[in-house]
Structures are given as C-alpha cells and as structure tokens.
C-alpha cells in the first residue's frame, strides 16, 4: 500500500475505509534459503537489506508475537552517532547516514527528526571527557559542538542552572542527533521487505533449531518445522533462550529498562536532553507527550515492567534538572527486555562451530539507532559470510580473547556495570 496526498484526501472524504494492510500476512512455507528469527527492528531491517542489497528474496522473518511488539516499539527513539571508541564510532556513523536517507529509501514517513541532542555536563572533569568525545565524533566525520553554560542557556533556558549540587557547566551538542517514530521504522522496513518478496510470519514462535553434523537445517516453530540453509538469530532480550536451542550460552544478561510518557503538552522541549549526573534523558513527542527515562532497574529480569525505586529515581533526576515539568502528569510507564553484554557493545557474528547459524544481539539499551546499520551488516554477513567493514569489531570471541573489547563507558568488561 502506498500513501499520497490525494489518497489521504479521498480517504478522509470516504471515512478512511479504503486503507489496506501494509504488508502480506504470510503463511510459512516448508523451506526458505534463509530464516530470520525475530521481527523487531533488527530482524526486519536484516530481511529488507538481504532483499535489497543482496537480491535474496526467498527468506522469512519468523516472529513469535506481532511485528514490532518488542523493544522496537518500546524505546524512547533517540537516534545519534556520538560514540567514542573505534568499532562503535564507524558503525553508528554509518547508521546515522542510513537514517538520513531512510524515508526516501523506504518511501515511508518514519518521522526522523534531527532536532539536536544535548548531553549536559556538571563538572570540569566531565567537560574534559565530553570535549574528548566531541573530538572523536568530529574525527569520525560526524558533528559535535561543545557549548558553554551560556550556550546551553540560550537553547534550554528552562533548566535549573544553579542547582546547588549539580550546577550546569555546559553541554555537548550533536545537531544531527534526534528522534524517529519507532513503530513506523518497523512498519517501513516490514513493508519494504514484504514488497520485495520476503515472508513476514507472525504468531510463530521458534521452539528449536535443527542442526545436523554442525550444519543448520532449519527451525522448529509453534506452526511446524521450517527448513532453511541459513538461520539468523535476531531476538534482542530473548537471545539467551534462542541460543540455548542451538546449545550455546551467550555473554548476555537480560535486564529491564523503563520509560515514561506524560500527557500531551504544548511544545516546550525542542531537543533531546540528557542529564550528566543521575541518569535522566527527555524529549517531547510530536503528540506533545514528554518521553523520558533513565537507568536500568539493575537486576536480571524478563518482566516488561520495572519496579518503583527506579521510577522514583528517574522522576527525582528530572525534577532536579528541569523543575518546570513537575506538574505534568505521567500517563504511562513500561519496560523492555534489554540484551546486556559485559562491555556494553553488540555482537554481529557467525555462531562459531555451527555452519549457517548467525547472531545479531547485545544491543543493550541503545539498539534503536542501530536498526539500519545492524540490518545492513547482518544481511552482509549472512549473504557473503564475511563481516561488513563497519561491524567487524562486533565479534563474539572478543570476550574470551580479550582482544577488541569495546568498553565505551570505561567501566570494565563485566556484567552489571553498564
């Protein structure tokens, strides 16, 4: 189905009864060249780029629920390329470039809004660290501007600059950073893949992975077995369970991350803002809701909801930074299951020792912005059996060898520290 101005007008006059589904609701065939397990952002973009970049169309995306019902529809939609370490920098830089052409490529309005991201700092030490990060971003070819306190005040006059404990010293401004409509990203990729012949199979849970003599044969699902020459595991928070079907344990612990949204307000916050002390970040959606969040709840969890301590902490941090939001009513809060790795960086690799099995996981709490480049790189890996240039650092064996750990936060490569 296509959109046009004329169509919107005529549908408006006809009571919006003529809109059709955006993609085919496919039934599983007996066999495919490739199967992607997981219909989230990464699974759908992988399928799309397999079809578009590599001409592979005899493929299926197998999703246990409905497309986009996982983290891709639960995140706070921040898109940025402000990473610091080699391995991450070039990957997220590539992703942001794909974002910038995504709407044209998919012919779908994903509401990508480069409204600018401002990461605030609150001490001399933090200023130095952010200046260094900004230089790394510029070296990578992306944009970063170090704002002093007055520079921040011009853009964000409503912050509490003189907070006794955490005065604002300035901010690192990333003008090309921003947000996008998360559901639309899933839908746009789904339509693009489906139009190219990819089968999107919903309500179909993978329950087993068939391997014979070290070679993948296909998958078992709640709707019967499906054979395939290659299988990609792209299931975010559920990576541990699905890898176990292939007899593997992963360097992943699943944690819950919460988010919050207020009632709709008139436009007040034009940028994406993050507080440098006490994790808190916020933006305003086009519907007017203030969308905000903070840290993980910090214990392993598969509940798509969090507990009260982190809610309280996030609200307190928000009030510390911008007391003006205190009267806004919180409408909803929810949680998503995050695939946390020890070093906080992702994995896009072959599953060593099992021919035809690939894995894309470990997106921690930041995999929405990665959706285009992850799909691009995973498709490249599955089609050519070689890692894509921008994702070649995301190796699974880096934890065992210690070579190429990508510890962006500098906390050490250990669970529960990111």
């Amino acid at each position: 189905m296509r959109f046009s101005g004329l169509k919107v007008l005529t549908e408006g006059l006809r009571g919006n009864k003529g809109w059709q589904a955006h993609w085919r609701d496919a039934q599983p065939k007996a066999e495919y060249d490739m199967i992607i397990i997981g219909g989230g952002g990464h699974g759908l973009s992988t399928a799309y780029y397999l079809a578009k970049n590599h001409g592979m169309t005899n493929i299926a995306v197998v999703e246990k629920g409905y497309l986009g019902g996982g983290n891709v529809g639960r995140n706070t939609t921040i898109v940025r390329a402000n990473y610091f370490l080699p391995g991450n920098s070039e990957f997220y830089s590539h992703s942001l470039k794909l974002w910038e052409g995504l709407e044209e490529d998919l012919n779908y309005n994903v509401m990508h809004s480069q409204r600018g991201l401002i990461n605030l700092f609150h001490s001399d030490g933090q200023r130095d660290a952010f200046a260094r990060r900004g230089n790394a971003m510029i070296n990578q070819g992306d944009d970063a501007i170090l704002l002093d306190r007055e520079g921040v005040r011009k853009k964000l006059p409503y912050l509490d600059f003189d907070n006794g404990r955490f005065p604002i010293y300035g901010g690192l401004y990333h003008p090309r950073g921003g947000t996008a409509r998360h559901d639309a990203v899933a839908w746009g990729y789904a339509r693009g893949a489906s139009d190219r012949g990819v089968d999107l199979i919903q309500n179909c849970e993978v329950t087993g992975i068939d391997i014979e003599g070290g070679v993948v044969q296909g998958v078992q699902t709640s709707r019967g077995p499906i054979r395939a020459k290659k299988v990609g595991i792209v299931v975010a928070g559920r990576s541990g369970q699905v890898a176990a079907m292939a007899g593997r344990r992963l360097p992943i612990e699943s944690h819950v991350l919460q988010a919050f949204v207020t009632e709709g307000l008139k436009p007040v916050i034009d940028h994406v803002i993050s507080f440098g002390m006490g994790h808190f970040y916020i933006s305003q959606s086009d519907k007017g809701g203030l969308v905000f969040g903070g840290d993980l709840d910090f214990y392993a969890s598969y509940a798509s909801r969090g507990n009260l301590p982190m809610k309280e902490h996030v609200m307190e941090a928000g009030m510390t930074l911008m007391p003006m939001i205190g009267k806004a009513k919180v409408l909803r809060s929810w949680g998503g299951i995050m695939d946390m790795t020890p070093d906080g960086s992702p994995i896009i690799d072959k599953m060593d020792g099992i021919d035809g099995l690939y894995i894309d996981c470990g997106w921690n709490y930041g995999g929405f912005k990665a959706v285009p480049a992850s799909g691009w790189s995973m498709a490249h890996l599955m089609a050519t059996d070689t890692p894509h240039e921008v994702a070649k650092g995301f190796r699974l064996d880096r934890f065992r060898t210690g070579v190429g750990i990508i510890d962006e936060e500098g906390t050490g490569s250990q669970h529960n520290l990111h």
């Binding site: 559920r238 992943i252 250990q414």
Partner: protein, 90 residues
Amino acid sequence: MRITCPLCGERDRREFYYVGDAVALNRPDPDAGDVVWDDYVHNRDNPAGVTRDLWYHESGCASWIVVTRNTITHEVLETALASDVKEATS
C-alpha cells in the same frame, strides 16, 4: 521487590546491591584455561524463570546473599547467606 535478608529480615530492594548471577560461588581453578574462564566471567544461562543471583546487603548488615527468584514475575522464592550456600556445596 522486597528481599528477605537471613539476618535482618524483609527489606526494601533499595538496601541491596545486585552483583549478578550466583556463578561466583563456582569460581574455576586459576589454571582452568581461557574457555572455562570466559564461560565463568561472561557467559550466562540467563533464564526466563527461576534464577539464582547474588545480592549484597549494602545498606544493612553487609552480608552476601544468594537470592532465588523468578525473573518473569519478580517473585523472591528463597534467600540464604552466601557463606552457608558455599559451605553446603563444597
């Protein structure tokens, strides 16, 4: 979530620091090799359901506690002093 410290009784989760999977109770031999150590330090069963992890009663009696709980419902099923668990299994 409330956690029962074997020494202090039932307390708010905020009093505890989460240290992760209770694998630390089965620390491998120093010479066990990189595969075993990688498995111990990094790889996890990561179960959706009953799990055992270590919590530190930081704002309480400072004991290490093995908490058996459900990662889907957040229900705490059992708690025991890590030292007792270690003794019972060694």
